[in-house]
């Protein structure tokens, strides 16, 4: 405590007392000089104060501005990505049309075209329509940590739908293929490497009379049902007569090749 006591007892620089003791008695004009000095010092102090405060106030909106700028840039990049995706889908359609017209001339070509159609349907290279069910899942209303959907929940939901006999599934417009990953990145769920925002709309094409019941019995369906009843996660399942599941336009094998002669 002696440190604090010392601090309280001698708040003044010792220099003042020493200077007062050693100073000759008779310099009266020093008083004006003292005043000038005090004014100069307070001037500097005021200047420093003002600069520090204004700096503090200026840097706050600066950070906010940078944040806004980043958000705009992210949105722009997102828009660019979606226009490029659309263009890519158009081009893929055109390629497919040209391919079909080229193949339809010969009988062996027509057989090949038929095989191609089946494969494209199954791999998710073209958009498909058909009856099915639409599941909309969302975080709990007070989205604290427990009521938030995770990537594993979405995986379970989708697996449940596959088990229930779905033939084609899309999540928020992203077609699921054999190469689509559903993963968590930070606090967002990514499907096919684009992050999604809740609610998550899952389209599943299949027999819409049996799928809801089979889904409810599947382990994935039970997983989601458990979340609904215990963590207030919201889910609505509706049967639809016609659903559109878009193509995964980017599906391509880059390394895998057919082994040996067919």
């Amino acid at each position: 405590m002696s440190l604090l006591n010392n601090l309280m007892a001698h708040p003044l620089d010792d220099g003042y007392a020493v200077a007062a003791r050693t100073r000759p008695k008779q310099d009266k004009p020093a008083r004006t000089r003292h005043r000038a000095m005090l004014v100069a010092a307070t001037l500097v102090l005021g200047f420093l104060l003002a600069v520090a405060t204004s700096q503090n106030y200026r840097s706050a909106p600066e950070a906010e501005k940078q944040r806004k700028e980043l958000i705009t840039r992210i949105n722009q990049a997102d828009n660019r990505l979606s226009t490029m995706r659309t263009r890519q889908a158009q081009l893929a359609d055109e390629v497919r049309r040209l391919q079909a017209s080229g193949l339809s001339n010969t009988s062996s070509g027509a057989a090949l075209q038929q095989q191609l159609d089946t494969l494209e349907l199954q791999t998710g290279a073209i958009a498909v329509t058909g009856p099915g069910i639409k599941a909309v899942v969302d975080d709990a209303k007070d989205a604290d940590k427990e009521g938030r959907l995770l990537d594993v929940d979405l995986q379970q939901l989708v697996n449940g739908l596959w088990t229930a006999g779905a033939e084609a599934i899309s999540v928020n417009g992203h077609r699921l293929t054999s190469m689509t990953a559903i993963r968590g990145a930070g606090s967002a769920i990514t499907v096919d490497y684009s992050s999604l925002t809740p609610p998550y709309t899952v389209h599943a094409i299949g027999d819409n009379t049996t799928m809801p019941a089979r889904f409810a019995q599947s382990s994935g369906g039970q997983w989601v049902q458990y979340l609904v009843s215990n963590f207030d996660v919201r889910m609505t399942i509706t049967t639809e007569e016609s659903l559109l599941v878009p193509a995964d336009a980017t599906i391509a094998l880059r390394y895998a090749k057919v082994s040996g002669p067919r």
Partner: protein, 110 residues
């Protein structure tokens, strides 16, 4: 009264000029301000005690500011910058309060 005038003029100049503080100086500016405040309050008290000395004042003002900035700089290099800033602010704060109490006794006789 004249000291307050100087303070006001300084604030006005600072607001009008509003110079850009370079990035490296930003953590030291608030500490420097507190150190300067301490020196000024010490001077004010000495002035009222009748032992004010301009040389002591100028030296204490400059050395206060420099040492405070130096301590924070050292702390930054050692990775304890924020803790040392707190320490400097506490010590200077206590000094300012004690000096203010003496000034108050002089001015209000209470």
């Amino acid at each position: 009264m004249i000291a307050v005038l100087g303070l006001v003029i300084g604030v006005v100049i600072g607001l009008l000029v509003a110079p850009d503080v370079p990035d490296w100086a930003q953590p030291y500016l608030p500490i420097a301000v507190v150190a300067a405040l301490d020196a000024v309050f010490g001077a004010l008290r000495a002035f009222l005690d009748g032992i004010f000395d301009d040389k002591v004042f100028v030296v204490s003002f400059i050395s206060n500011v420099l040492i405070a900035a130096l301590i924070v700089y050292l702390g930054d290099q050692l990775g304890v910058g924020s803790q040392l800033s707190t320490g400097v602010v506490v010590v200077l704060g206590i000094r300012i309060f004690t000096n203010m109490a003496a000034i108050r006794r002089h001015v209000f006789r209470a």
